[in-house]
């Protein structure tokens, strides 16, 4: 009698486990809109959530929205195919890597009228660095890398990368703690390309960075923002997107694009190869390029928008005509975007960067 009871219990438990497992797998499915869905993979905090709601209402397409934190963590997730994303928003060099590996699908601009109408031609021109025929990427946010300095802590205005090697500012300089950005500074100072793979040029850049090391207060990533606002350092290398915000918090801060030229970065929408909802993806990108939507996103993100029509709509004149947010790219001939250097190139840079850091 007792044994039979236990046997029954066992059977019941097995059933229970099976049931709960299948229930679990079932709840992965998500409801769809009337016109299907679109799966978007974007940077965290990189869109006004209201625009997504508006898109869903207008088109009846359910947006499944997912976020990543670095290009490097986005890539393997897309590549693994665990989720079939439709749209992603990687940066320039990552886009060139995805193009090289055949992960993107060609865009049909005739289905996205807002793109060519509203996005400035100069941004497509700049995109040719990583997307030579403008076949894959629609610019979404962009900016420059430059110098932020505290005018009460320097003796003369900072205008050149060279001044980051000035001993008067010893222990008062913040450098970016990322391989490409750090080497970009040294390579531009030497008058070379920031995408160089020439061993001699790289060696020279490495020597420069080692020479600069004693003057550096810290290699930092996003702490530049807070440290500069708090007046903890005189000079910092920073992205232009942060410049307006930091200036608002501390009026003594000035952002400059160094004379030697610098990096222009562009985060762009791309449609992935084998996107299950390609048509909806086109609608989504087109919607994001509509001027009122682009304006909402600009207000939310505060990074420069390549959307000329949206820029016209910015009410604050100081921002609309800001040289920081919207530098005229045609004025510079020494701006470059990063491109993917291949696995060997990457490891070469990393190796040299390690030597700098360990010196």
């Amino acid at each position: 009698m007792g044994n039979k009871r236990i046997y029954q219990l066992k059977k019941a438990m097995c059933a229970l486990i099976l049931l709960s497992v299948s229930a679990l797998c079932g709840c992965g499915s998500t409801e769809k809109g009337v016109n299907g869905q679109v799966i978007v993979y974007n940077w965290g905090e990189y869109i006004d959530p209201e625009t997504i709601r508006m898109f869903e209402e207008e088109y009846g397409i359910k947006v499944i929205y997912d976020e990543f934190e670095t290009n490097e963590s986005m890539y393997p997730k897309v590549e693994s195919g665990a989720v079939a994303y439709d749209i992603a928003c990687p940066s320039d060099y990552m886009i060139s890597r995805m193009i090289q590996n055949g992960m993107l699908s060609e865009l049909d601009y005739s289905k996205m009228p807002n793109v060519k109408k509203n996005i400035g031609a100069q941004y497509f021109e700049q995109s040719k660095g990583f997307d030579p025929d403008n076949k894959y990427a629609v610019p979404y946010c962009w900016g420059t890398v430059g110098i932020l300095y505290n005018k009460t802590m320097v003796e003369e205005p900072i205008t050149r990368w060279e001044q980051l090697w000035d001993e008067t500012y010893a222990d008062n300089i913040l450098m970016q703690d990322s391989v490409r950005d750090a080497f970009m500074v040294a390579e531009k100072l030497n008058g070379n390309s920031m995408n160089t793979l020439d061993p001699e040029e790289l060696e020279a850049a490495k020597d420069l960075l080692i020479e600069q090391k004693p003057l550096i207060q810290a290699y930092v990533v996003d702490q530049v923002r807070d440290k500069m606002i708090g007046g903890e350092a005189a000079i910092g290398v920073i992205y232009s997107g942060e410049a307006i915000y930091t200036q608002r918090e501390n009026p003594d801060l000035v952002y400059v694009i160094p004379e030697e030229g610098t990096n222009v970065w562009i985060d762009s929408w791309v449609i992935l190869k084998n996107a299950p909802n390609k048509e909806n993806a086109e609608k989504f990108i087109d919607f994001m390029c509509r001027e009122d939507i682009a304006l909402m996103n600009f207000d939310y993100i505060t990074y420069s928008t390549p959307n000329e029509a949206a820029r016209e709509l910015i009410e604050d004149e100081a921002i609309r005509n800001s040289e920081i947010a919207f530098p005229d790219l045609s004025q510079y001939d020494n701006m470059e975007t990063y491109i993917y250097l291949g696995e060997e190139g990457d490891s070469l840079y990393n190796e040299l960067w390690k030597e700098v850091k360990a010196y």
Binding site: G2, C27, G28, T30, I39, G44, G81, Y85, D226, G230
Partner: protein
Amino acid sequence: MKSVLKKIYIALIILFLYAPIGTLIVLSFNASKTRAKWGGFTFRWYISLFQNEEILRALFNTLAIAFLSSFAATVIGTVACIAMMAMKRRTKSILMGITNIPMLNADIVTGISLMLLYISLGIRFGIGTILLSHITFNIPYVILSVMPRVRQLNVSTYEAALDLGASHINAFFKVMFPDLLPGILSGFLMAFTMSLDDFIITHFTKGVGVDTLSTKIYTEIKKGIKPEMYALSALIFITVLTLLVLINLSPTDKNKRRSE
């Protein structure tokens, strides 16, 4: 002299443990978004926290996953312990070894292997896959804390209950279960906290649009973490603190009474 040093030592330990949390709580009342400047006292972040749907959904997901996964892991782990009790020494130690490995294993290995497993099985990524993964890595912790209790178990009492006419289920719940309860509870709590603060495994096994607090906070890195998160963390900390104080102050400690 010696006792003064002792006190200083303790004070230092507490300072290092709690200074970061203290800073966070102070910053959650800072009207300015940057940590570098004190912009005045405000409750603004607390108010906007409760209006931010995404953060609240992430919080709900985190708590739901933590609760469900630790509950499931506790049931599975406890049953496994009782089963192991009846096994031969050799099989038992082999099994214990197998359950210990995932605990020592680096989270990233567990995370990636689970992701690959789900892909090859064709399971849809979503809240279900997070839950399955959390149950998986929680089971060893439950076994670890229930096993010692099982070893102390006196099988004769259970047999005596059967002899006196109790059914197997009755005997289990009336005799065995109360003895195991402290171990089960601590296993449950351990699993709960493990699940609550897991990031890496969740990161690899989560589906689109599903976020827990840890993955949500991590995605905010590019633009800087929002002060609402400080407010939320402060609230969580205060809640846990009050709970702990209440538990420790409660005058009727049942376990103690039983053992006396």
